[in-house]
C-alpha cells in the first residue's frame, strides 16, 4: 500500500480537517463529530438535506455541502456507513425548523444507521424524511435481494432535491422531488483496478492484466462478472444498453448524463466514454440537456467509471440547471 497518508486510522479525521481548512467559506465542522455542515447552518425556514456514507467516495459527500445542494454530510470510516449518533448530530445541526431529508444510498448498513438516527431525531421532535437511492442497474432488482445499490446517481439527488429545498419547498415536497429523481435515474459502472482501504492495507480483490469487472460497486464489492478488457466504445455500449434497458427512455426524451470517474481514471478516458454515450443517445433521439464528466462518486484510487442517465421532466430540468455553490459542484 503506497498512499499519501499519515496514519491509516486517522485518514477520515485528517481529511475532514483538510477539507474545512480548504473551504472555510462553504463548510464548518460539527465539533466532536465527523459531520460537515454549511457555514450558515441551520438555515432557518429551509428544509435541511443530510447525506453521507462511508468515506473514500470524495468529493461525496462533504464536497457537496453548500448552497443549492446539501446542508450536512456525515463521513463514516472508509467504505463503512456512519454511525447513528453522527447522523443524528448532522440532523440536529441543519434543522432550520422545516425538517430534514436524509438522502441514503441503498446499503443495509446505511439504511440501518440512518434509520436509527431518524428514530433518535424524531424523539427530539425533528421532522425527518428519507429518500433511498438505488440507481445501480448492475444488481438485479428482486424482492429476494437487498435491492439495488446507490451509486453516482446520488449526486443528482443531492443537486435536484437541494435546489428544491433552496426554493423553500416543504419537507414532503423535497422528499417527493428526491423520489422522482430516484425513480428516473439509472447507473452502472465498471472497474479496471481495485483500491486499497487504508486500514486494510491491501486491495480487496485483484484483476489480472487484461481483466475488468463489470457492474462494479463503489466499495470494492464485486460486480456482475469479469471479462477481458474491450474497447471504450464496447464497454460504454454494454453499460449504457443495460441502463437504457432498465429505464423507459424513448425518442424525444430529455436526459442528464454523468460519466463518473472512480478516482484513478484519467479525465481523458472519461471524455472518450462520453463521446460514445452521446453518440448512442443521439442515435436514439434522446436529447442530452446537460452532461457532467469527472470524479463525482469515487472509490478511492480505483480505476474505472460509471455512467448515469437521469430522465428529466420540466421540474427536474429546471432544478438541475439551478445554481449551486459547493466545494466540488459549482454551477451558475
Amino acid at each position: 500500500m503506497k498512499k499519501v497518508i499519515n496514519n491509516a486510522e486517522q485518514v477520515v479525521e485528517e481529511m475532514l480537517q483538510g477539507l474545512v481548512l480548504a473551504h472555510p467559506q462553504y463548510v464548518k465542522r460539527v465539533a466532536g463529530f465527523d459531520v460537515l455542515v454549511r457555514t450558515n447552518s441551520p438555515v432557518q425556514g429551509k428544509v435541511g438535506l443530510v447525506s453521507g456514507g462511508g468515506s473514500g467516495h470524495e468529493p461525496s459527500h462533504g464536497g457537496y455541502v453548500g448552497r443549492g445542494m446539501l446542508d450536512g454530510a456525515v463521513a463514516g470510516a472508509v467504505f463503512t456507513s456512519p454511525t447513528p449518533d453522527q447522523i443524528y448530530e448532522a440532523v440536529k445541526a441543519v434543522d432550520g425548523g422545516k425538517g430534514v431529508l436524509l438522502v441514503i444510498k441503498n446499503y443495509t448498513g446505511d439504511i440501518m444507521n440512518f434509520e436509527m438516527a431518524a428514530e433518535m431525531a424524531a424523539v427530539d421532535g425533528v421532522k425527518v424524511a428519507k429518500a433511498i437511492v438505488n440507481d445501480d442497474v448492475a444488481v438485479e432488482n428482486s424482492t429476494w435481494t437487498t435491492g439495488r445499490r446507490g451509486i453516482a446517481g446520488t449526486v443528482f439527488v443531492h443537486k435536484i432535491a437541494g435546489a428544491k429545498a433552496e426554493q423553500g419547498a416543504n419537507l414532503a415536497e423535497v422528499q417527493k422531488t428526491a423520489e422522482k429523481v430516484i425513480a428516473n435515474v439509472h447507473s452502472m459502472g465498471m472497474a479496471l483496478s481495485p483500491c486499497t482501504v487504508p486500514a486494510a492495507g491491501k486491495t480487496s480483490f485483484t484483476l489480472s492484466d487484461n481483466e475488468v469487472e463489470i457492474g462494479m460497486g463503489i466499495h470494492g464489492e464485486p460486480g456482475t462478472h469479469r471479462e477481458s478488457i474491450r474497447t471504450a466504445d464496447e464497454i460504454a455500449e454494454h453499460l449504457l444498453n443495460k441502463i437504457l434497458g432498465d429505464s423507459e427512455l424513448k425518442a424525444g426524451d430529455e436526459v442528464a448524463v454523468m460519466v463518473n470517474g472512480l478516482g484513478g481514471t484519467p479525465l481523458m478516458e472519461l471524455y472518450i466514454v462520453n463521446r460514445k454515450v452521446a453518440a448512442m443517445l443521439a442515435e436514439k433521439n434522446i436529447v442530452i440537456a446537460k452532461t457532467y464528466v469527472g470524479n463525482y462518486m469515487t472509490s478511492l484510487e480505483m480505476a474505472g467509471f460509471s455512467i448515469t442517465v437521469l430522465k428529466l421532466d420540466s421540474e427536474l430540468k429546471a432544478l438541475l440547471f439551478a445554481p449551486a455553490d459547493t466545494p466540488a459542484f459549482v454551477q451558475f
Binding site: 463503512t80 447513528p84 437487498t146
Partner: protein, 210 residues
C-alpha cells in the same frame, strides 16, 4: 460485575485477534471491512469499560457495549450487534449473575433485535445462520436439563455448523446479496463473528465453572 467485564474483554480479544480473517472473508463477498469494523468497535468497548468507574449490573455493562458498538462500528454489523447487546441488556437490567433461564432470554432478545433491525430470516447468509441454530440447540439442551455451559457448548457447535452452511447458500441480505450466485462457496463474515462471540462466551463460562 468483574465477571461480565472480563467476559466482554475476552470477546474483544478474540474479535481483535480475528480482524484479518474477518476482513478477508468480507473481501470475498462484501467490502473487506468486517474485521476492521468489529475491531474498531471492540477497541472502543475496551477503553470505555476501562474508563467507566462503577457499572452496577450486567445490564449496564451490556448496554454500554451495545451503545459503543452502535456509535463506533458503523456498516451493517454495528447497528445489528449494537441492538443485540442493548436488547440483551434490557433482560439483564439490575442483574449481577446470569442463570440459564436468563441466558436463554438474553439470547432470544439479542436475536430478536438483529431480526428487527436487519429484517432478515435464516437462510439469507447472515449472522442469523449462526445464531438461530445456536439458540435452538441451546433451548433444546436446556429443556433436557443440561447445564449452562453444556447448553452453550452445543450452541457453539451448532453455530459452527451454521457458519459452514453459509458457504452453501446464496446471500439475499446485506452487501453479499449483490453477488447472487457468486456468493456461493464463501463463508459469511458476520456469521463467523457471531460464532466467535458465542465460542468465546462458552469458553469463558466453562473457565468460570472450574
Amino acid at each position: 460485575m468483574a465477571n461480565a467485564i472480563a467476559a466482554i474483554e475476552a470477546l474483544a480479544d478474540v474479535i481483535i485477534a480475528n480482524k484479518e480473517k474477518l476482513t478477508e472473508l468480507d473481501a470475498a463477498i462484501g467490502d473487506a471491512d468486517h474485521g476492521i469494523n468489529m475491531t474498531r468497535g471492540f477497541e472502543a468497548v475496551r477503553s470505555k469499560l476501562a474508563a467507566v468507574e462503577q457499572l452496577k449490573d450486567i445490564g449496564s455493562v451490556l448496554k454500554l457495549v451495545g451503545m459503543t458498538l452502535i456509535s463506533t462500528v458503523g456498516g451493517a454489523s454495528g447497528p445489528l450487534y449494537g441492538t443485540a447487546f442493548i436488547r440483551a441488556a434490557a433482560v439483564a437490567q439490575g442483574k449481577t449473575v446470569i442463570d440459564i433461564d436468563m441466558a436463554a432470554q438474553m439470547f432470544e432478545a439479542a436475536i430478536g433485535g438483529i431480526k428487527d433491525r436487519g429484517k432478515a430470516v435464516r437462510g439469507e447468509k447472515t449472522m442469523l445462520d449462526a445464531l438461530e441454530p445456536a439458540y435452538e440447540a441451546f433451548t433444546q439442551e436446556m429443556v433436557k436439563g443440561e447445564s449452562l455451559t453444556g447448553c452453550l457448548t452445543l450452541a457453539t457447535a451448532a453455530a459452527a455448523s451454521g457458519v459452514e452452511y453459509t458457504k452453501t447458500i446464496i446471500a439475499t441480505k446485506g452487501r453479499a446479496s449483490y453477488l447472487g450466485e457468486r456468493s456461493i462457496g464463501h463463508q459469511d463474515p458476520g456469521a463467523t463473528s457471531s460464532y466467535l462471540i458465542l465460542a468465546t462466551l462458552t469458553a469463558f463460562a466453562i473457565e468460570q465453572e472450574v
